[in-house]
Amino acid sequence: MVRFAVVVFPGTNCDFETERAIRKAGAEAERVWYKANLRDFDGVVLPGGFSYADYLRAGVIAARQEIMEEVKEFAREGRPVLGICNGFQVLTEAGLLPGALRPNRVPRFLCRWVHLRVEDAETPFTALYEPGEVVRMPIAHAEGNYYLDDPSKVRIVFQYSDGNGNVTEEANPNGSVLNIAAIANERGNVLGTMPHPERASDRFLGSEDGLRLFRSMVKWARG
């Protein structure tokens, strides 16, 4: 069975839910302290939370830890690397994904459900979605305002939209350029998402739309 490492930094707080969602999607998952090594794993997930209290910039201190050299190795080898919320911030700060996540346009922490339009259903993380499909997942972040000088070059995976899939200014919760909610690297094996798929992985949470992201990832890792 394929095994995923869920990396825990000081301040990470979505590790249990993420581990549970990966198991529900049919793989082994193990929470791994950031001082450990990632040998014997098939993929790595950087979960949400507040690594190092978000001091200096969200994700940057985690991005400079030694374990990230192994995560970069995973990415180079084409194995799956998923960053959720703080994990997305870590991936951009580590240079594994382009751009940066800035404080929200409205100066507050946002915690609510959003609609997302699936822009790219051809990544290993979105293969079980339909292109153009509208899904629901929650966001919970203060620094989710995605910025890149030239966003036309980025591989957009989810965009904030309204319930009908219209990508509008009103549907953009945090000011992200082009309503970007999730992006992938060129090869598609590294994904960063601000919305939390693990918080939308069971009917009792209000949506199962996020579970398909983990199912896609697990299916792909199985080969």
């Binding site: 200096l56 910039r57 940057v60 201190i61 400079r64 951009t92 700060e93 382009p98 751009g99 940066a100 800035r102 404080p103 929200n104 346009r105 409205v106 100066p107 305002n145 910025y147 890149l148 000088d149 000011g175």
Partner: protein, 80 residues
């Protein structure tokens, strides 16, 4: 040799600074004609180094600033 270093990290021109906006509007509410308030990050530290320029430049690039969104400047003076 020991140096006293100060680093200022600024958001690139044109990028929205929500903290600056809130502080600016609080000052306007107090009656001051404040515009375009920005909140750069300011760091000061002492550094033992034979190559302070090189090391401070590297620190800015590796951690203190994010080149996607920031510019930075620094000053380095010997500690007497």
């Amino acid at each position: 040799m020991k140096w006293r270093v100060t680093v200022i990290v600024r958001l690139k021109e044109g990028l929205n600074d929500p903290e600056g906006r809130v502080i600016g509007s609080a000052l306007r509410n107090l009656g001051y004609a404040v515009e375009n308030l920005k909140v750069p990050k300011y760091f000061e530290f002492e550094l033992e180094s034979d190559n302070p320029e090189g090391e401070v430049e590297e620190m800015c690039r590796r951690l203190l600033a994010n080149p996607v969104i920031h510019t930075y400047e620094y000053s380095i003076e010997p500690v007497s």
